[in-house]
Symmetry: C2
Subunit: 262 residues, 2 copies
């Protein structure tokens, strides 16, 4: 079974049957994957506003109608309640359960937000011969809290979380160009080469994910990270919040290249 060559609808059907409960990296290659955040409607306007004001960490790909589990723009045949391999249920800001579908948690006033993820620009980097260290080392990307404040929206506020990829000096300009093409999936970096300038004191101790090797002649480059909206939403301690489990994304019908602005 070559999951990399599956069509998105085949991959989602496999996931819906609980035949794939692992991370989705590499599944249905070339198709865009999305982060999921589900909140009740009474928080939805403020959260959408937060995303609109902070497009680098929170690139909105789709928002469902209240009560509808169908992401009409990115995958009109999909169902966000069943088509991701793993979900996390948070009550009042506490993780209470990890499940493979959320049918029994669904309510009439839930709104699902699908946010762009870094898989898209990492794929573009690889196609341009730019190494992606955490993929080489088979671990999660290192993520750090910064002291860059997000723009507040209603109850939602907090610092930006960034992901870091060490880039060979000779490739830094190309890495900026390549990722700038994809503003819908975090876009250009937010910092090049100076972690302290954004409040990161220890590169060996990421706040999320795993540390990776920075080789001689490589520069740490930082991108706004999709963990930001989850971290910010958590602080509000919503009665109910549902997210994908890290790495267990929704596979959309849209191709990565369709998000390139030029």
């Amino acid at each position: 079974m070559d999951v990399a060559r599956m069509k998105p609808e085949e991959a989602r059907a496999m996931i819906r049957r609980n035949e794939w409960t692992r991370p989705t990296s590499g599944v249905a290659g070339g198709y865009t994957q999305a982060n999921l955040v589900i909140l009740k409607k009474d928080l939805a306007f403020e959260f959408l506003l937060f995303c609109q004001r902070n497009p680098k960490p929170c690139p909105v790909l789709d928002v469902t109608e209240p009560g509808s589990p169908v992401p009409n723009l990115v995958a009109p045949e999909a169902d966000v309640r069943t088509d991701l391999p793993k979900y996390r249920i948070y009550r009042h800001g506490e993780l209470v359960e990890e499940v493979t579908d959320i049918v029994k948690f669904w309510e009439d006033d839930l709104v699902a937000f699908l946010l762009g993820c870094s898989f898209t620009f990492e794929s573009a980097m690889l196609k341009n011969g730019i190494p992606v260290r955490h993929l080489e080392e088979g671990c999660n990307v290192p993520m750090y809290k910064t002291h860059i404040p997000c723009v507040k929206a209603g109850r939602f506020e907090g610092p930006m979380v960034v992901s870091m990829r060490p880039i060979p000096e000779t490739h830094v300009v190309r890495a900026v160009q390549v990722t700038s093409r994809f503003p819908a999936v975090h876009g250009a970096p937010v910092q090049i080469g100076n972690p302290e300038a954004i409040g990161i004191s220890n590169m060996d101790r990421p706040d999320f994910g795993d540390p990776v090797t920075i080789k001689e002649g490589e520069v740490p480059v930082f991108w706004a990270c999709g963990v930001t909206p989850q971290a910010v939403a958590m602080q509000v301690k919503p009665e109910l919040m549902i997210t994908h489990a890290p790495g267990h994304m929704l596979i959309t019908d849209l191709r990565d290249e369709q998000f390139g602005v030029l």
Copy 2:
């Protein structure tokens, strides 16, 4: 008084004192101007969702907190109630009044949407030596209803309105490149050269604005137009809707070039 060289805050102060009640084209050159749509909070989520789903006609630059007249992201010193030269008041979808400030219409549950306008990309076209016909002819840009449906969001739905600029054949590719740099202000064209393909039967009779000359060797090129969200909002017949009067924009503190993605 050289209004083109004014700083945004100077221009807004002049407008606030009602010393400038004309269109803002050419005022505070190089700074981004924005369309205004004000709705009550109960429609705000659906309208923001509509904009998010239709970014080409509805490029959101800023959304105020409910009840606040301050556009914090684009002009934190501005007040949307006084800083535009002319406003239109709509009640239940009908234009009832045109005024130079909206202080007495302001309510605690109003939300102001600031949307990107074509002035930004027209300025970029001119800098690239691409002619802009309606500026040459001193009239309004011709706008047409199409049969391209917008993506529905709650009560908001309807066809896309486009603006048309005749471009010399030799400049069409460059016009696509130049405007693609500015996705936050309508971005790349939606159609090149075939009005009937998008449901436009008579180029001499625009639905809004004025007809312009299409010269020998020129191609009509169509861009998504900021009239779309107003037209769509009007169909919902909201109890109260306030917009800028056509051409009478908010001058923001951001420079046009800051919206270039590359």
